[in-house]
């Protein structure tokens, strides 16, 4: 059984940032990732990272925009921390070599983004995530951070209410391993693959959130799922908000710039939840194109600007939709994009379970509340990644390594063996498709009791069917079917939590919109949902929102 003081699960931005910080603070840290670090989903982020660098801007304004954007569900102290540390976090990245786009004067360029009162999104053309992820990996290598790649963590080891380590499968050999740790930091990203229409990569299956949930840690605000308004029709590949930030228009089948009806001031740059609902409304009311999409028009920006600021989008549109945005508008539709909810943490990444920390998309601090502003996710990973790394390093200095028996290993080994040896049954992908479909249909942009209950029933049936699944590949060597089967198990757990929270929350706030309860209800619902696993399904409780400076008010754009 190997051991490290700190184990980070996930090698995306938050995970690597935490590991670098912990190592620099003298910690013995190792990162586990089911992929090679540069394959992490962060690599796909396009738009940018927010920071109040401008002379006329301030972190307070940024924090306010964040809080308002969250539909007042964000914990304001956490939002303040994130926005206050943003400028230094971005400058540090620049020093590390991130290739930000520049102004004429050579400063880090910033573009306007949805819901921001000031252009504060720093960007690297439209491949910001890619550049950040690679730079972070470079720094991890420079600092000698130990990374176990293709080691898939499948459960947390928790005894006496303390997290003592993880159990993981070595994908190459199928061998089950247990790793002891004084502190485990979850940085496994979001859960997009719960939905059949998502911008997230095929490996974004919410592993860490589900592991924490199974270990008895409640999950917070899972019903708040962000749907991105502009993804390529059919493939659902992300078309960054940056395209609208640079001046792109959203046009319906009648040729109208319809955002005028929904957000007359900000138009296309209203926050995502508002834009998404606008897009879906247009389609539902018959003003979309056959098949269910509308147009994102970039033609008026001109070839030069598109090539300079949005080259990735141009290439993606040409490759995956057969459209050159210089000449034609891009067909787009909404898709799941981000998970606002996650493992509850404080501003230092500590979860309610001793020894367990979380950071990045899989955590819920909560800075994004009911709706996340574009550009704040990358920021979240860097700021809180650093904080959790520092905190964990401090924590392990004052803690002794726990121990546990081989029992957990044997249990997991048996589970895997059972899964592999099953000779007949349903295929994983059938379950996955069914899950994805019901979530898109019933737990999407516009929700109501009827649809949510249907989803609950569907999920119940799927849970039964999951037990009968046959992997049909009994080899231990690099068994991707086994990995997928384990991932779908995580996804199903999270889907149940999302549905439970959505059913219970009888109001509309941010990305959670109930057609039967279309208004925001601060009196009854200005609170965070907590879902704890029980044998009867998720059990809900609530906790208050931390309010420091800004009293909730009407959210108009």
């Amino acid at each position: 059984m190997s051991e490290h003081d700190i184990i980070v699960v996930g090698a995306g931005l938050a995970g690597l940032r935490a590991a670098i910080e912990a190592k620099n603070k003298g910690g013995d840290v190792a990162v586990l990732s089911k992929l090679h670090p540069v394959r992490s989903h962060c690599d796909q982020a396009q738009g940018g990272i927010n920071a109040a660098l401008g002379v006329d801007d301030s972190w307070e304004k940024h924090a306010f925009d964040t809080v308002k954007g969250s539909d007042y569900l964000a914990d304001q102290d956490a939002a303040e921390v994130m926005c206050r540390e943003a400028p230094q976090a971005v400058i540090e990245l620049e020093h590390w070599g991130v290739l930000f786009s520049r102004t004429e004067e050579g400063r880090i360029a910033q573009r306007p983004f949805g819901g921001a009162g000031y252009p504060r999104t720093c960007y690297a053309a439209d491949k910001t995530g890619h550049v950040l992820q690679h730079t972070m990996f470079e720094q991890a290598q420079k600092n000698g951070v130990k990374i176990y790649e293709e080691l898939f963590a499948t459960s947390l080891v928790v005894e006496d209410n303390v997290c003592k380590g993880v159990v993981a499968i070595e994908i190459l050999t199928g061998r089950v391993q247990a790793l002891k740790a004084k502190a485990v930091i979850l940085a496994t990203g979001g859960a997009g693959q719960v939905y059949g229409r998502t911008t997230n990569s095929l490996t974004t299956t919410g592993d860490g959130m589900a592991m924490a949930y199974r270990a008895g840690v409640p999950l917070e605000d899972m019903e708040f799922v962000q749907f991105h308004p502009t993804t390529l029709f059919e493939s659902n590949i992300l078309v960054s908000e940056g395209a609208r930030g640079e001046g792109g228009y959203l046009i319906n089948a009648k040729g109208e710039r319809f955002m005028e009806r929904y957000a007359p001031d900000r138009m296309e740059l209203a926050p995502r939840d508002i834009v998404t609902r606008a897009v879906e409304t247009e389609i539902q009311e018959g003003r979309g194109f056959p098949g269910g999409y509308i147009h994102l028009d970039l033609r008026h920006l001109g070839e030069e600007k598109i090539n300079e600021r949005l080259p990735t989008i141009r290439e993606l549109a040409m490759c995956f939709a057969g459209i050159d945005p210089v000449k034609e508008p891009i067909p787009i539709q909404w898709a799941q994009h981000y998970t606002m909810g996650g493992v509850p943490t404080d501003s230092d990444g500590a979860t309610p379970l001793k020894g367990l920390y979380a950071s990045g998309e899989c955590a819920c601090v909560s800075v994004h509340g009911a709706n996340r502003l574009g550009g704040n996710s990358l920021l979240d990973t860097i700021v809180f990644g650093r904080r959790v790394g520092a905190k964990a390093a401090e924590y392990v200095r004052e803690t002794t390594m726990g121990s546990f028996t081989d029992e957990v290993l044997k249990e997991e080994e048996n589970r895997i063996e059972r899964m592999l040896s099953k000779e007949e049954g349903e295929r994983i992908w059938v379950i996955k498709f069914a899950l994805g479909e019901t979530m898109v249909k019933n737990v999407g942009v516009f929700r109501d009791k009827r649809k949510l209950e249907r989803a609950k029933r569907d999920l119940g049936k799927l849970r039964g069917r999951l037990g009968t699944v046959c992997i049909d590949d009994s080899s231990r060597r690099f068994n991707t079917s086994l990995v997928e089967a384990l991932e779908i198990g995580f996804a199903l757990d999270l889907a149940e939590v999302i549905v439970a929270g959505a059913l219970a929350r009888r109001e509309s706030r941010g990305a959670h919109y109930r057609v039967d309860y279309p208004n925001r209800d601060d009196d009854n619902w200005l609170k965070h949902t907590l879902a704890t696993k029980t044998t009867e399904g998720p059990k809900l409780s609530y906790k208050p929102v931390t309010i420091t400076k800004w009293q909730p008010s009407r959210r108009g754009y």
């Binding site: 004429e104 004067e105 690297a124 990569s201 490759c319």
Partner: protein, 312 residues
Amino acid sequence: MFRILRFNPEIDKKPHFDTFKVEIKGRMTVLDALENIKREQDASLTFRRSCRSGICGSCVMRINSLTKLACKTWATVEAPKHSAILVEPMENMPRIRDLVVDMGEFWREIDRGKPWLIMDETQAADLTRENLLTKEQLQVSSKLADFIMCGACFSDCISRVFDKNFNGPASLAKIHRFVADPRDKDPLGRVGRLVEIGLWSCTHCYFCWSQCPRDVRPMAAISTLRVLSVAKGDASEGARHVKAFMDSICRTGLLNEATLYLKTMRLDVLKDLDLMIRLALKGKAPSPFRLPIPRIDEVRLMYRLMEGRVEK
């Protein structure tokens, strides 16, 4: 039709091909087809994939004998090339299972190049302001930062097949990304270390250029690094070769094979003594005396004008 190389060391003694029939619809990519095969025909078909949008680099494999990203390769484009679309794992890396290879060698080569910004630590710790840099200053690095470390160039690199000391196109391109970045504090040191990692092993086959799914053009980076290395006083045979070429063209406007050969190989020409004799007997031996072309002064003027104009 897809012909896919299969190999699971747990059960197979050696690799073999399996054929699968898939109905190609619309914009179906090779990755879509593989997923389809895995779902409907053979769940044991093994391959890596994640983003399905051409940016993570996981699904790289050989399709019709050249390395590409499966998610960005269209079945309709590949199908007419052969009776069956040939799908094999990457070359130059040991096989793990089916289309999955062990990229350890690739990552080790990347590591050899110190692939991170070498900073002045005190400067880096001052977080009051960013380094002021213009778009032009960062242009080269920004283009090189497009790369996704998929390994396609490494897989198709011919030199790498025969020369395991060759650092490889991806790593050299990554090194150039730092050499060209004004913030890097050790460009000269980096350039100085290139010869020992095989800077001169690249054989100009241009496969890394044609196969890069992000159009990073590693060979162009290698050429630029060679320019910098020569300018820095590189004394290796490769550098001598370049200098001999330049010299010959400046003097006569032409390539003088004999002097090029002598200047590059020096005493090593003795290895080819037998060949030289045979060539001479056949009247094929290149003369060391070649008359300059007409209007050679034009060529020499261009040399003088362009001297010393070397950019990173």
